[in-house]
Structures are given as structure tokens and as C-alpha cells.
Amino acid sequence: MGSYQHAQDNWFAAFMIGFIALAVLINIWRARAGRELYIRRIPGLDAIDEAIGRSTELGRPVTMIPGLTAFGVEAVQALTIFKYITKQIARFATPMRLLTANATVYAVAQEAIADAYNEAGRPDLYDPDSVRFLSSEQFAFASGVAGLLQRERVAANFMFGIFFAESLIFAETGNIVGAVQIAGTVSITQVPFFVAACDYTIIGDEFYATSAYISREPVLLGSMVGQDLAKIAFGSLILGGAVLSTVLGADHPIIQLLGKPGGWEPFMEWIRLKLGGG
């Protein structure tokens, strides 16, 4: 089984990428034109303000952990969420800690958190030491985070990003110190651990919906609608593919086009034969 290194490996897959891009861009344009767009309620995100309120009442810090996320789309999304949380925190002068295992994320996080305090009108509250790079080693980072959660008795713990085996160490330690915990991850294998140990868990693509949900910015809301259209298209393709695969057999050129790298050539060959034969 090959993989999709280039569009030529399967032009149909490349076409689908183009379709998603188009669906997203058209809906962003519609949203910018002032069209009202609906986004469903996500309880985990509604609970963010509640968790911050609890930290403020207890006078204990809030921690934000982007996990082992390298700098990429997940890190940008996680930092967008953390920036929103920091703006809320700044209003009540609640202490915060952002702990990262990636040095590039650390450098960007410092800027993002400083910006958040500026935008909240409290640049005086920003402490550069509140954003910390602990270690790029997985379990050294895990022990550093667990130690800080225990020592500072945090009241709210937000975990957004990519997590591996260390996820349960964070979530269980947070649980032990009685923190309100909200986690959001695209790491499917870690979702059960977060569901078991956290108060709220944001699963899968809800993670990418977070910034749209929080900010209600037309660009982001439009993008969400485009994503939903793409999901409907994929769902239809899966159903259609299942029916066709049952009727035509798994080796049929249409099925190869839908689901296999290199499926474009047999499909085109089949079309040529059909046209030639007809």
C-alpha cells in the first residue's frame, strides 16, 4: 500500500483537497458578506469562564498545557484558546502558568500571552516567567508539569493540543489536586484518558471549532460551515462507496479511485475502455 506523497498518486484525492478548500473559502466569503451562521453549543467551552471564576475565587493559579505539540496548526489553535483564557484571567488578575515542551511554541506563546495582557488593558500583570519551557523530553516534561500542579495546587487546568502517554499523568495529577479540568485534543488515543479524568473533553474536530466558538469571528464561522459541507460530502462518498463496493466488488476501478493511492490510472483506463467499447 502506497501513500499520498503527491497529487499525481491519486488525482481524485487532490480534487477533494481542492473541494474542501473551495467550500471553506466560499463560506468565509459568505460570512464576511454578513450572512448569519449558526454554530452549536459546546459545553466544554462554555465551562472555561466557570473554571477561571473558580480559580479567581480560590486565588490559585490556572495552568495551560499545549502538550508535546510541535509548532503547527494544532499549536496555533491551542495558543488561540490560551490567549482567550489569558484575556479573561487578566480581568481578574488571576495567576497563570503556560507550560510547554516545545521551544518554538514557547517563543510564540510568550508573545501571544504578552499580547493577551496588553489587549486586556493589563500589561503590568504580565510575568515573562509565567510562560515556561520545561523540557523537550516527554517524561521529564511530564514530571515537571505534575510537580508544578502539585506544588501550586492549581484550581483550573486547561490542556489543548497534541498529547501522548503523558496525558494521563497531567489529567490524574490535576484531578488529585481538585482542579477543574478542560481538555481538547486531536490525539484520538488519548481521548479516553481525558474523558475519564477531566471535567470536560473537546474531541476531534471540535478542537478546531474552538476559536470560531470563542471569537464568533465571521471568517472562522464561515470556515466552520465550509468544514461541515466537506464532512457531508465525505459522508456521502463513504456511503456511496460502501454501496458501490458491495455491488461492484472492491477491485472495481471506481472503488480504486475512491480509496487507493494510484487509483487514478486504473479508473482512466476503465473509462477509456468504456468509451472505446461504446
Binding site: Q5, H6, A7, Q8, A14, I20, A21, V24, I28, V73, E74, V76, Q77, L79, T80, T100, A103, T104, Y106, A107, V108, Q110, A112, D115, P128, D129, V131, R132, F133, S136, Q138, F139, A140, G147, R151, A165, L168, I169, A171, E172, V186, I188, V191, P192, F193, V195, A196, A197, I203, D205, F207, Y208, S211, V219, S223, M224, Q227, A230, K231, F234
Partner: protein, 280 residues
């Protein structure tokens, strides 16, 4: 060992990245915010276009197109940026703990331990690397061998293993909370988990055998799915566990993965076109 071409390329990229890094910072700071934003937006768009073009352009028999080689070199240059930021991260860490120790802040002892560990590990790691690559005339000595083994093999790896093994206990306490029967959903979860856990270990086979359920799937059973033996065979605990994993769990995971893929692609498009203003 590097060959000359590789070494020249490596030097070119490292020096180029340094020059770009140190030239861009003052340039960006002199620009007004709008100009800075425009510059970053244009740079991001061109970089994104390069990666997208490499994916979409047709390739030859070797699976390469005109942009594939520069693409791989560019990916290498990303490591230089990572190395630069690692320096920044380490500086931040040392500054924080040095300040903790010097100002005798609460729990400053931990900071002192960190600083001593950091310096010791860094010293022996650099020494070992120089000796390994035979650079600057550095040789292996018995002291280096002993210290390196003690610090890395007998300390670091063991500490890592200790942290990893903690997960076993955490899984136990998390599972206890998750499986407590408090609602219909929790009951279904508990029942399903029990079936899967028993089904995939030898106990599942033992229970199924004890109940007299068929142990093998014959050709006759394969051709007739509604045969009683076939139905009984599929009631074996290992078969049920497999069905739960393959017919229920895997499709749900794939559905989530589809959503994640689409979400990541949409986010990447927003970043590429500088429509995402989250951390700007």
C-alpha cells in the same frame, strides 16, 4: 561523517538562517504594525504556495518534480529554526531557576537541583559527543565512560521508565472512575469494556470453550451465514470483542479522524491566507 557537499550545504543553511534571523528582527521592529503584518502575510503565502506547488506538480518516475529537492532542503532549514528556538527556551528555563536560586524564592532548592543537573548533563553530553565524533582532539576516558553511563543509562533512562510506569497506576484510578455505574451510558461503557477485556485475553477463549461454542469456522459455515453453528461461533467472546473493536470502535475513530483532517486543512488554509488572527 559528512561529505564536503553536505557540509557546505549545512554551513550555507545555518549561516543563511542566522543572517535571516538577525536581519529580520530589526527590520520587523522598524516597520509599523500594518507593514509588519503585510510582510509576514506575504512571506507566509509564498512559503505555503511553494509547499502546495510541490504537492500538486506532476512527478517523474522517481516520484520527484522540480520543487522536490529544494523542498527537502527547506525542511532541513526548519531544523535550524527549531535549534535557535531551543536555545531561547533553554535560556528562559535557566534564567527562571537562576533567579529562584539567587533570590532564595520559595522552594529554591528544586531550582538549584535543576541547575546542577543541567550543567552536569550538558557537560558530559558535549564531552561525549566531541569524543564520539573525534572533534577538537577530544578522547574517550574512563571517567567519561563511567560518568556518561551513570548519568544517562543508570539515571535518565530509569527516571523516564519510572514516570512511564506511573501511568499504570493512573490508568487504574481513571478506569475506576470511568467505569463506575452512574448512568445508562456508563453502564453500556462498563459492559462493553468488560466484554472486550475478557474477549482479548485467554479467559475469553476459556469461557467460550467451556460453554461448548464452536471453536473453528468451517467452509460450510462460511458459505451459510445463518447456519446455527455460524451464529454460535460468532457468539464466542473473542469474536464479539473483535467485532466491537473492528465494527464499532474503528469506524468511530475513522470518523473522528476525518473531522480532524478536514479541520486541520481548513485551519491551514486560514493560516496560509492570513485569515486566522488568533495569535496575531
Amino acid at each position: 561523517m559528512f561529505d564536503t557537499t553536505q557540509a557546505t550545504w549545512a554551513a550555507f543553511w545555518i549561516i543563511g538562517a542566522f543572517v535571516l534571523f538577525f536581519a529580520l528582527i530589526p527590520l520587523l521592529q522598524t516597520l509599523p504594525p500594518r507593514g509588519r503584518y503585510m510582510l509576514i502575510a506575504v512571506f507566509t503565502f509564498i512559503s505555503g504556495l511553494f509547499f502546495a506547488a510541490e504537492f500538486f506538480l506532476p512527478v517523474n518516475e522517481e516520484g520527484k518534480n522540480i520543487l522536490t529537492d529544494p523542498f527537502q532542503r527547506l525542511q532541513g532549514s526548519l531544523q535550524v529554526i527549531t535549534a535557535l528556538s531551543l536555545g531561547l527556551g533553554t535560556y528562559g528555563l535557566i534564567r527562571l531557576h537562576l533567579r529562584n536560586a539567587v533570590q532564595r524564592r520559595p522552594q529554591w532548592g528544586y531550582s538549584l537541583v535543576l541547575l546542577i543537573a543541567f550543567v552536569t548533563m550538558a557537560f558530559f553530553s558535549v564531552w561525549n559527543t566531541l569524543a564520539e565524533k573525534e572533534l577538537l582532539g577530544v578522547q574517550r576516558t574512563p571517567l567519561l565512560e563511567r560518568a556518561f553511563t551513570l548519568l544517562f543509562d543508570y539515571t535518565l533512562i530509569q527516571l523516564d521508565a519510572t514516570m512511564f510506569s506511573l501511568i499504570a497506576f493512573y490508568i487504574f484510578s481513571a478506569a475506576y472512575r470511568a467505569f463506575r455505574i452512574r448512568s445508562i451510558e456508563a453502564s453500556i461503557l462498563m459492559f462493553t469494556a468488560m466484554v472486550v477485556m475478557i474477549g482479548i485475553v485467554p479467559l475469553g477463549k476459556f469461557i467460550s470453550d467451556s460453554m461448548g461454542l464452536p471453536t473453528t469456522l468451517t467452509d460450510e459455515m462460511r458459505t451459510n451465514p445463518f447456519m446455527l453453528e455460524n451464529i454460535l461461533y460468532n457468539l464466542r467472546l473473542p469474536q464479539i470483542a473483535n467485532w466491537i473493536l473492528n465494527a464499532l470502535n474503528a469506524p468511530v475513530q475513522r470518523a473522528i479522524e476525518f473531522g480532524i483532517g478536514i479541520g486541520a486543512l481548513a485551519m491551514a488554509i486560514r493560516l496560509w491566507l492570513s485569515l486566522e488572527r488568533g495569535i496575531n
